[in-house]
């Protein structure tokens, strides 16, 4: 009998292990898996919360309503008063198609998730009313968004405008777009459309930066020093047997005039003299290949090279070609760095969150970090002014305002080049930095994109708009 009892102990231990494994697994599940599981779209509890919540309103910086929930007796609908004007950046919140844009980024604020305790739920149960979400104020400026949308209408591409002093996004338009009020009707067409109208090109469109990259090259040349910037452009340069050509022979150039006329051969030559490491490390300082900070998810730009980069590839990188890919918002941020004495302000779109009663719940302070020295920033800024006054960017000139910028005409796989313009104004006290890209435009950045940027900046600098 004694040995029976000994074996019995084994069974007791087994039972202990079984019960402990339940307790252990429950705890593990709750700590590591529950958060992910409960966000599953099939979880009817999410919908139930949704149905019982009056989603908060989204405003622009001045209180213009961009998205609101209309409550009738027995239903709630999310309405977007400006239809497709904010289709990407404000996005949509739809039971069937999910959420995008600000509706997605600030969902927990809009739904007032997280500030409901058991007591709050009890209260709401007793009072019987629905939960009221918080209101979100974005940094967007309705007038500028309106202008940007008008300027891009009928075209393909993106416009991003930021305040270089704070990183606040003032306008972001991506075309083609869609009407968030008519999602159910249009959805089938939208998802198969090859022009990807659902994609926010401003944040996630990946383009070769073309000649706009030369501002970063100029910073690299100034930061490293020691190379001769003077050059006699003959219209072409042979690198390892490949010929790199310019539109024409520019003749004798220094760094300033090279940027102004956007001379490919001189920038390629200087890049080769600087070497791969210097060029790539400056690009990395400008967050190429690194994720940008800020309160919105931005596609990380691509610069898939290491220090052993081939000379032909290095020459291509110098003029923003090769395998370089970048988002429009990042190029607006790059322009902003030169506008802001070399300090990059993290791009952000949330101005503040207010409770339904109007109490401020959340507001973000501007965050900045130094990318290049003020001297180099200001030197490049002066050269960017020359681009507009005497170079390829003359179409961005605004009378009475000093404008700095850089054009780009990016070659790509389609055969039709993209037209770029990045810049800021006024150059002596910058208030707005922009990036304009017109996809497969076929014309140069100076011809097609610079006037768009000029219109937008003119509008922004009108008395009373940004103050």
């Amino acid at each position: 009998m004694n040995s029976d009892n000994k074996k019995m102990i084994h069974l007791i231990v087994l039972s202990c292990v079984l019960f402990l494994s339940i307790i252990g697994y429950l705890t593990y599940f709750q700590i590591f898996m529950a958060a992910g599981v409960s966000q599953n779209n099939y979880n009817r509890r999410l919908w139930q919360r949704e149905e019982n919540t009056v989603r908060g309103t989204i405003y622009d910086r001045n209180g213009v309503v961009l998205a609101e929930t209309l409550v009738t007796e027995d239903s709630m609908t999310r309405s977007y008063p400006f239809n497709s004007m904010y289709s990407h950046i404000v996005g949509y919140s739809h039971r069937q198609y999910g959420r995008t844009g600000a509706e997605s980024y600030f969902n927990s604020d809009l739904m007032a998730i997280g500030n409901d305790s058991t007591v709050a739920r009890l209260m709401e149960r007793i009072t019987g009313g629905p939960i009221r979400g918080n209101h979100v104020y974005l940094t967007l400026h309705h007038q500028l968004q309106q202008t940007a949308e008008r300027l891009l209408r009928g075209k393909k591409g993106a416009i991003v405008a930021i305040d270089p002093r704070s990183g606040e996004i003032l306008a972001m338009v991506s075309k083609p777009d869609f009407n968030p009020n008519k999602l159910s009707a249009d959805w089938d067409k939208l998802v198969v459309n090859e022009e990807s109208p659902l994609l926010n090109r401003g944040l996630a469109g990946m383009y070769p930066p073309g000649s706009t990259f030369k501002v970063i090259m100029s910073a690299a040349v100034l930061a490293n020093g020691g190379i001769d910037t003077n050059y006699n452009c003959t219209g072409s340069l042979v690198v390892d047997g490949y010929t790199l050509s310019d539109l024409k022979a520019h003749g004798y150039l220094d760094l300033r005039s090279s940027l102004a006329v956007s001379c490919n051969t001189n920038f390629a030559r200087m890049a080769l003299e600087l070497g791969g490491e210097a060029v790539l490390s400056m690009a990395k300082d400008f967050y190429f290949g690194k994720s940008l900070p800020g309160d919105i998810p931005i596609q990380t730009s691509r610069i898939p090279y290491n220090r052993n980069i081939e000379p032909t590839e290095l020459a291509a990188v110098a003029i923003g070609q090769g395998k370089l890919l970048v988002t429009p918002i990042q190029m607006a941020v790059v322009a902003g760095i030169f506008a802001n004495d070399g300090i990059m302000m993290s791009p952000r779109i949330l101005k503040e969150v207010q409770s339904p009663e109007g109490k401020q719940l959340k507001s973000l302070a501007a965050e900045g970090n130094r990318i290049i020295s003020p001297d180099i920033a200001n030197e490049v800024k002066a050269m960017m002014e020359a681009v507009v006054t005497e170079g390829t960017g003359k179409n961005a000139r605004i009378s009475g305002v000093r404008v700095a910028g850089k054009t780009g005409t990016a070659e790509n796989a389609t055969g039709e080049s993209h037209a770029w313009f990045i810049g800021f104004a006024p150059a002596d006290a910058p208030k707005i930095a922009v990036a304009v890209i017109l996809e497969t435009e076929g014309r140069s950045g100076g011809v097609a994109a610079a006037p768009v940027a000029r219109e937008l900046m003119t509008q922004a600098l009108k008395r009373g708009v940004l103050d």
């Binding site: 009998m1 029976d4 009892n5 074996k7 019995m8 084994h10 069974l11 007791i12 087994l14 039972s15 202990c16 079984l18 019960f19 494994s21 339940i22 307790i23 697994y25 429950l26 705890t27 599940f29 709750q30 898996m33 529950a34 958060a35 599981v37 409960s38 599953n40 099939y42 979880n43 009817r44 509890r45 139930q48 058991t118 739920r121 009890l122 149960r125």
Partner: protein, 412 residues
């Protein structure tokens, strides 16, 4: 006042009264719109339990804790059922009333009749008869043909077979010579398991095998034969995975229920959503939405408990079962007579493994199979068979105390 102090304070039954007070108080405030019937039901249930408890003490029926623990579990079950659907809650109280009577009947019958250890043929015949009846008259519920409909009542024969099986094992180990040899015995055991598998009642098949192999482990004299049994089980398991579609589905949805949430993985994912929604402290009784889980009042009641009482509540329930099992093992260890020892062990293991199988299933620790959560799930058959089993255990606890020196800490 003195009487109250003597009868209530300082007795463990206080805990039960207190728990029921909170459960039914909360139900009254949160779930029913101040429905008086909830209070009546709560008082009725508690009163019934208190009376039974005093009977057990006054009649000196041995272990004082078994009934207390299963009463707390039953109360939790009734409270949850009331919250899910008052009709189930009320019916469960009725079942409890019947079960409590049968608890005492089982106690006395087991003590009065002395022939239990000689009835191996009766037990085998009883099981087979019930199986035959199930196959002949059974109705299919949830894909398993294991219900018999009598009038408006559904009865699950496997719950009774469970007890026959335990008694059969015990009788065999007392008088192994009654069966021709070990192989006849093994044949009868596997007949049970195969018949359950044919009924598609995989949970019960697993349970029967677990109980058998555990007891066999203790009494086997031939380690080789024991290992053959394990090998046989693995073979049957693998074989049924490849030949029986529903077994494969069960296994695959266990591995990845997220692949087909709307279809095959629906039950288990809804269960996981509920547990995740509850967090550590739960949404509070009546504040969650466990109604989204299919079969929430039977197999998935543990998920509802986790949603509304949190996994701390869930863990508390697991610990209650743990104490219950501990009492069972304690009784088993104190008995020396082989028949009663195996009966005690069999009952303890059955409810230990059954608890693990269903809780493990609904939290996706093991593949999900449909067995009830003892004492908590809705259902007359399972509640009654569990109370009968623990009534027998109560009798065995009394037996184990007779002739042993045993100092009870409680003052009588």
């Amino acid at each position: 006042m003195f009487l109250f102090r003597k009868l209530v304070l300082g007795r463990p039954i206080t805990i039960l009264i207190f728990i029921n007070l909170m459960f039914f108080g909360l139900l009254f405030l949160m779930v029913g719109p101040y429905d008086r019937s909830i209070l009546v039901a709560g008082v009725l249930l508690t009163l019934l339990m208190v009376v039974c408890y005093y009977l057990i003490i006054k009649l000196d029926m041995g272990d004082q804790y078994i009934f207390l623990i299963i009463s707390i579990l039953t109360s939790l079950g009734v409270a949850m059922l009331y919250r899910l659907n008052p009709v189930y809650g009320f019916r469960q109280i009725t079942w409890f009333g019947i079960a409590a009577v049968l608890y005492f009947m089982a106690y006395f019958l087991f003590r009065w009749i002395k022939l239990w250890d000689k009835g191996i043929y009766v037990y085998i015949a009883g099981s087979i008869l019930l199986f035959v009846v199930t196959f002949a008259f059974g109705t299919t519920v949830k894909g398993a043909t294991n219900w018999i409909r009598i009038g408006s009542f559904n009865f699950q024969p496997a719950e009774a077979i469970k007890l026959f099986f335990i008694f059969m094992l015990a009788a065999y180990f007392k008088y192994p010579e009654k069966l021709k040899n070990t192989y006849v015995f093994l044949g009868i055991v596997y007949l049970h398991i195969i018949l359950l598998t044919l009924q598609r009642d995989m949970g019960m098949a697993m349970l029967f095998f677990g109980v058998f192999i555990s007891i066999y482990y203790i009494y086997q004299t031939d380690i080789k034969l024991f290992l053959y049994n394990i090998a046989a089980a693995v073979t049957i398991g693998t074989f049924s995975y490849f030949t029986m579609n529903h077994v494969r589905v069960r296994f695959d949805t266990w591995l990845n229920p997220w692949k087909d949430i709307a279809g095959r993985g629906y039950q288990i994912t809804q269960s996981l959503f509920a547990i995740a929604a509850g967090g550590f402290f739960g949404s509070g009784l009546g504040l969650g939405t466990p109604g989204y889980i299919p079969e929430v009042h039977t197999d998935f009641i543990f998920s509802a408990i986790c949603e509304e009482l949190g996994i701390f509540g869930g863990i508390a329930v697991v610990l209650l079962y743990f104490i219950m099992i501990y009492r069972g093992f304690k009784i088993t260890l104190m008995i020396n007579e082989p028949f009663t020892k195996v009966v005690a062990l069999g009952i303890t293991l059955t409810y230990s493994y059954q608890t693990f199988i269903i809780i493990g299933g609904v939290i996706k620790l093991i593949p999900l199979t449909g067995v009830t959560l003892p004492f908590v799930s809705y259902g007359g058959s399972s509640l009654i068979s569990a109370f009968v089993a623990f009534g027998i255990l109560q009798a065995l606890s009394k037996k184990s105390l007779e002739g042993e020196e045993f100092v009870e800490l409680e003052q009588r």
